[in-house]
């Protein structure tokens, strides 16, 4: 007797992923496949061993590999009684998966038309899934939107945005990801105030927000102004040109994280590395320097965004827990591929409390432990003006146009350091006599 366990489209989970999941089980489990190229087959797995594989009328290892040749199709996973005389397995799953040839048209296969329609795959029900009942189309209304959308989403309705080529950045491109392993360390605050100071120096700046949660527009109390955000461009292919918001500073524009509603959470869980890189690249064509505010942590979404940046600026909160986790900053960068690893522009210490020993010791340790050229000379103290700034929804400098709080000027210093490290051309100064 077959007991259906799960089913779905290979567009949503590819065969290798399905097999890895099945591979953690110990029971005799079958994966039935109907591929878009017409091949029908079954793979049996038990305790991480591939027991057998058939594809149309072939069997054995070749059949196993043949089942990887189409990217589209449906899978159906079922359990059934272990046969009394199990054959010798074809091999351990993890090893066989490593030998799967890379995708692409093969000689024996008809070559796909050059512009394959993206969603041409049609849904076909598997006739054999006696045990499988699809979730009710309108699952209970109490269900949380994310769980519900994940359940009701028929695989083909998760429309991936068009694939784009990830362009290489030119030597003059400056895209700086603002990152920190710990949340709440001041990334958004520093992104906003540093952008402003860069713009005041005469550089054109776009600040891109990529964090749905601690978003910049909320910080400046302008959430309702956003129609299109960076996530809409990446996941829903929205146009960039209508998305940039002007500020009172002519050279400073903001690209918010999201417009009025969130993109499909299912879709947001997909990586879209190339689309992120393309967006960053496109924005960099419109400004001297691009700053990118990222979500807390070094993995997930932040990691994807970093792969499209030319530089990263780490924010280290002068506090013990933050310091302990800061090692992740360097480690996570190390884990990136050489050609996708941004340079470290520097690390800025935030919320320093000189009267507190623990806070100071973070500073001292950072001086000792971080590579010498990382730490900026400018450190930002913990200061109540930041609270007012968030409260009033304004950058520090704009809290009081006539007498900005002195900490606002620290960002001018930081901007000067950043410009120097990036070798940004500063408008030439003419030599002038001192006495008039």
């Amino acid at each position: 007797m077959k007991v259906g366990v799960m089913q779905g489209s290979l567009k949503e989970f590819d065969l290798a992923e399905v097999l890895q999941v099945v591979g953690i089980g110990r029971q005799y489990t079958g994966i039935e496949l109907r591929l878009s190229n017409g091949v029908v087959g079954t793979i049996f797995v038990k305790s991480g061993q591939v027991v057998s594989a058939t594809a149309n009328d072939t069997a054995g290892p070749n059949a196993f590999f043949n089942l990887f040749q189409a990217a589209d199709g449906r899978f159906f996973v079922f359990r059934t009684e272990t046969p009394p005389d199990l054959p010798e397995p074809l091999g351990p799953l993890h090893r066989m998966l490593m030998e799967v040839p890379p995708p692409g048209p093969r000689k024996s296969e008809p070559v796909q038309p050059a512009v394959a329609p993206l969603y041409a795959y049609e849904e076909r029900e598997l006739p054999t899934q006696a045990g499988v009942v699809s979730p009710p189309p309108n699952a209970s209304p109490s269900m949380h939107s994310i769980g519900a959308s994940a359940l009701k989403a028929q695989p083909a309705s998760v429309r991936q945005p068009p694939v784009v080529a990830a362009p290489p950045h030119g030597p003059d491109t400056r895209i700086i990801g603002i990152v920190s392993p710990k949340g709440g360390s001041g990334k958004s605050t520093i992104s906003l105030n540093l952008s402003l100071s860069m713009a005041r120096r005469g550089h054109s700046v776009v600040l891109i927000d990529t964090d749905v949660n601690g978003d910049i527009l909320s910080a400046i109390n302008a959430r309702s102004r956003a129609n299109i955000g960076s996530l809409d461009i990446v996941y829903n292919d929205a146009p960039l040109d209508q998305a940039l918001l002007d500020t009172v500073m002519p050279k400073f524009k903001i690209l918010p994280a999201v417009g009025s509603k969130l993109p499909d959470p299912e879709l947001m869980a997909t990586e879209q590395k190339d689309r992120w890189r393309k967006l960053l690249h496109d924005v960099s064509k419109r400004a001297d320097i691009v700053l990118v505010d990222t979500p807390a942590g070094m993995f997930g979404h932040t990691r994807t965004v970093c792969q499209g940046c030319t530089h990263v600026l780490g924010v280290l909160q002068a506090e013990v827990i933050a310091a302990r986790s800061f090692a992740r900053f360097a480690e996570a960068l190390q884990l990136l591929r050489d050609n996708e690893r941004p340079k470290v522009l520097g690390v800025v210490l935030n919320m320093l409390q000189t009267r507190h020993h623990a806070s100071l010791s973070v500073f001292q340790e950072a001086m000792q432990d971080l590579p010498q050229e990382w730490l900026f000379d400018t450190t930002i103290p913990r200061h109540p003006a930041f609270l007012d700034s968030t409260h009033q929804g304004l950058p520090l400098r704009h809290l009081d146009d006539d007498v900005p709080p002195p900490v606002a000027f620290l960002f001018d210093n930081l901007a000067a350091e950043v410009a120097q490290r990036l070798s940004l051309q500063i408008p030439a100064l003419r030599a002038r006599p001192f006495l008039l």
Partner: protein, 190 residues
Amino acid sequence: MLSDTEKTAIRQSWRLVVPIADTAADLFYRRLFELRPDYRELFGIDMASQKRKLLHMLAFTVKSVDFKDSDWRDDVSPDQDLMLVILALGRRHSELYRIPNESYAVVAEALLWTLKFGLGDAFTPEVEAAWTKIYTLLSRTMQMASATVNREAPMPTVAETQAVGENALRQQKEAMGVDEESLMPQEHLS
């Protein structure tokens, strides 16, 4: 799905976690809520029982992946089958606890941080890679469940799997001669 070297890395590092398991669970949640204070409200008030449940599930996972390749013909019951247990767990996470998909990355970060903090030098790159792999497998399974699982198929219940996990942790502690009293004091790590 793990290679023998990965299984060894998991088994040996988990042996170091078992004696400090409760502290590690404390650290894990502290780190998680530090990363994302807003996740606190997803959890109930009783964090002590939540910590226990997480440990049981990890103990169960470690035990489940740790079998000799030559024993592949042996059968296990559905409530001890890692795939079925994790699929059911994934379904509960999306349908009952309503966690967002992107939280898996945050939990990964908190878990790896905890292991690194708790294991110190024993958290070698190999150990890190093995835990990253096992976590990726678990979270992928959980996410796949929320999308495609057969809701009518019999799946292990919370009580069943927690009992199995509790057992796994007890056996591991006994095998190592760890009794509850000798647990490291919390201050040691904080």
